[in-house]
Amino acid sequence: MQSLMDRNVLDDLKQRLDELVTTLEEATREVSVLLQQGNGARGMNGLREVLEALQFFHEGLDVLTLADSATYNGLADLKDKLEQVYPSIYNALEADDTVTLADVLEYELAATFANYNTTKAD
């Protein structure tokens, strides 16, 4: 019974994380557009929210992979890919290069989320 409850909780968490990936993809694209429109202040606020949500996403992902890494390996792959994008975001932020930041958000981060969503649907 305990094990079944755990499984339900884990599946529920997985579903919530999947939904979050969709939201994150949309939000990341919105932030990218804001930055490209020269709306730096709103763009940076949006980016902060995206990064906070990503932190929640990673925490959830840690729970899932610790419990059953084999079942949730799609999400684990996503985690690896996201971790490859973070240095580019960090570098763009450090250089205060909003053009590159917008590119990274749209063509790397949002694209990674989109790729996960497509793979999941397949």
Binding site: Q36, Q37, G40, A95, T98, V99, T100, A102, D103
Partner: protein, 609 residues
């Protein structure tokens, strides 16, 4: 400044993009490395008001993607100014831009171009506003340059708004004063008689800002050690301290200006006035006046050609700016300001002893009207948009007169770039060290000028002739109105008959159309005839400011809208013609009387009712 390196390469979409490498080695992208065209589309979408803008200025060109996108979304007649100070980017764009409509796009490297653009587009900007498109990555190439350009653009637009408001509110009064003051202006010496009369002598300009109360008492020590030039508003305050200036400057056309002078009597001071000055002020200074020319319009140009140039003094919208122009013309150096706060120091608008001594700004007005500027002595001080426009012009003038030492001895108010800040005490001790005869020199130069009866007669003859021309012109304007009314009537009738009747080809419908065409042709002929008399039309335009400020009709305006506009415009012209003819005749009559030479014209005018 060390020039950054610009590295051009191909984005993933195949379009060119560029990376900026700063001398420090840090770098940033000018455009997307993936799709710069899409990026530009999004950027321009962030400016929804572009499609209906009266003027567009882009700060930063980059590789021109956003410019191309703006050209795509704005109406075909919109002119765009781009300011880009990086020569590499300008040259790259010139070489690579294709199908650029050169008549609509100007690319410049300085803020002077923005000033010209704003002046040229003033009517459209007044009507629809100016959109400033700032390309952040381009601006990052030279933050200081673009900050300066941004500030200057804001300043020019502020000046433009003030000028238009002033013009609209006082144009009728200005017109009347120019005629009423004509006998005095014709007879009085021009300010140019004083050119370099006080070369390298100090001059002090006494303005009426709140800080004047701090140091006005020291002015007694400045007398005969400097030329004391006071603005009209400060004259009363000086007299209250038992002080007499050498020159009093005035130029405002409205009745409130008279309140500054009412009840005061000059003993030794001379009045320097612009012909548009409120007419009751001039006779207060009989035989002690200099005229100067500041404002240009078809009327003032015509009159000036008749009586002769009096000497140009830039008004800049403020009497103190005109006073500065006079100090420069005198050859004065240093030029010292007191009471020139250009701000609401301690919450007041003016100094003690002026007619506005207890006046405070109406802070209930919008935030746009009031804002803070850097203050003398640090911190900030509150100012207003119109006053700020004077500060802007002062700073421009100071930059143009670097051969003079300009001292701000106000001891308060707004910080003025281009001035040396000193107390009035320090200024007197440091620069007002030698006595020299001021009034004697002015009086001597004034005496040298004798009124020329031949000039007066020429002016009188021309005024009479023009009054006669207007007399003949008025029936033509009246006929335009009658014909336009008939066209409107026939057009209304044609609308009522309806499309079906026309399609059936009924005789009645055809006759209405024929009559409409005939009257329309007659109206066009009459308009052409009237407009050919450009001198008169220009004169009437002056009085019909509302007509001038009315937005242009859209290209596809209906016949009804067009005829309505014709009736509106020519009714205003007819009214202006009646009024102006009367003024021309009145001025001609006053010039005939010898008593007008020293400014009794206002009294005779009162007699005329």
């Amino acid at each position: 400044m060390t020039v950054p390196i610009i590295e051009f390469f191909q984005a993933k979409s195949g379009m060119p993009t560029a990376r900026i490498i700063a001398p420090s080695g840090s770098s940033f992208m000018l455009h997307s490395t993936h799709d710069p065209v899409l990026e530009a589309k999004r950027f321009v979408a962030g400016y929804p008001s572009l499609s209906d803008a009266g003027g567009i200025i882009c700060l930063g060109l980059g590789l021109g993607y956003h410019l191309q996108e703006i050209l795509r979304v704005v109406p075909s007649g919109t002119e765009i100014l781009v300011i880009e100070n990086n020569i590499q980017l300008r040259e790259w764009f010139k070489k690579n831009a294709k199908n650029l409509p050169c008549q609509r796009v100007a690319i410049a490297d300085n803020e002077g171009a923005a000033k010209s653009y704003i002046s040229r587009m003033r009517e459209r900007i007044q009507e629809k506003g100016l959109v400033l498109v700032e390309h952040p990555a381009s601006i990052r190439l030279d933050l200081e340059f673009y900050e300066n350009v941004r500030r200057r653009i804001r300043d020019h637009v502020s000046l433009l708004l003030v000028d238009m408001t002033t013009m609209k509110s006082i144009s009728h009064v200005v017109h009347a004063n120019n005629f009423d003051n004509l006998p005095a202006v014709t007879a009085d010496p021009g300010i140019k008689a004083l050119t370099n009369a006080f070369k390298d002598r100090p001059a002090v300009i006494v303005a009426a800002g709140p800080s004047l109360s701090k140091n006005i008492h020291l002015l007694a020590e400045a007398k005969n050690r400097s030329v004391v030039i006071c603005v009209g508003t400060a004259w009363r305050a000086m007299l209250a301290h038992g002080l007499r200036p050498d020159l009093v400057v005035t130029l405002d056309a409205g009745e409130p200006n008279y309140r500054l002078f009412a009840g005061l009597t000059p003993t030794e001071e001379f009045l320097c006035y612009e012909p548009q000055t409120y007419d009751k002020i001039i006779p207060i200074f009989p035989g002690r006046r200099f005229a100067f020319n500041s404002f240009t319009s078809p009327l003032t140009t015509w009159l000036k050609d008749l009586y002769g140039d009096k000497g140009y003094i830039e008004p800049g919208g403020s009497v103190a700016i005109a006073a500065f122009g006079i100090a420069c013309l005198l050859g004065a150096n240093p030029i010292v300001f007191i009471g020139q706060d250009l701000a609401y120091t301690n919450g007041y608008t003016h100094a003690k002893g002026t007619v506005y001594e207890n006046q405070k700004p109406d802070l209930a007005l919008s935030d746009i009207h009031y804002f803070e500027v850097p203050a003398v002595g640090g911190g900030k001080v509150l100012t207003a948009r119109n006053i700020y426009s004077f500060l802007v012009r002062f700073e421009e003038l100071f930059a143009m007169h670097k051969d003079r030492l300009i001292i701000d001895a106000t001891e308060g108010g707004a910080l003025k770039r281009g001035t040396r800040i000193m107390t009035f005490r320090e200024t007197i001790d440091g620069y007002f060290t030698e006595e020299f005869p001021v009034l004697q020199v002015i009086e001597e130069l004034h005496r040298k000028h004798q009124p020329d009866p031949a000039v007066r007669e020429r002016v009188r003859r021309e005024l009479k002739k023009s009054a006669g021309e207007l007399e003949k012109f008025m029936p033509k304007l009246a006929k335009i109105l009658v014909t336009a009314a008939k066209v409107q009537e026939l057009n209304d009738l044609a609308d009522k008959i309806g499309r079906e009747e026309f399609q059936r080809g009924s005789v009645f419908a055809c006759s209405i159309i024929a009559a409409l065409k005939k009257k329309g042709a007659e109206l066009n002929r009459r308009l052409k005839e009237a407009n050919a008399q450009s001198k008169l039309i220009d004169l009437l335009c002056l009085l019909a400011v509302d007509v001038e400020l009315k937005p242009l009709l859209p290209e596809k305006a209906t016949l009804r809208e067009q005829v309505e506009r014709i009736m509106y415009v020519y009714s205003a012209y007819l009214e202006a013609a009646k009024h102006t003819r009367k003024q021309l005749s009145g001025a001609a009559e006053r010039l005939l009387s010898t008593g007008d030479l020293h400014g009794t014209n206002a009294l005779s005018k009162l007699g005329m009712g």
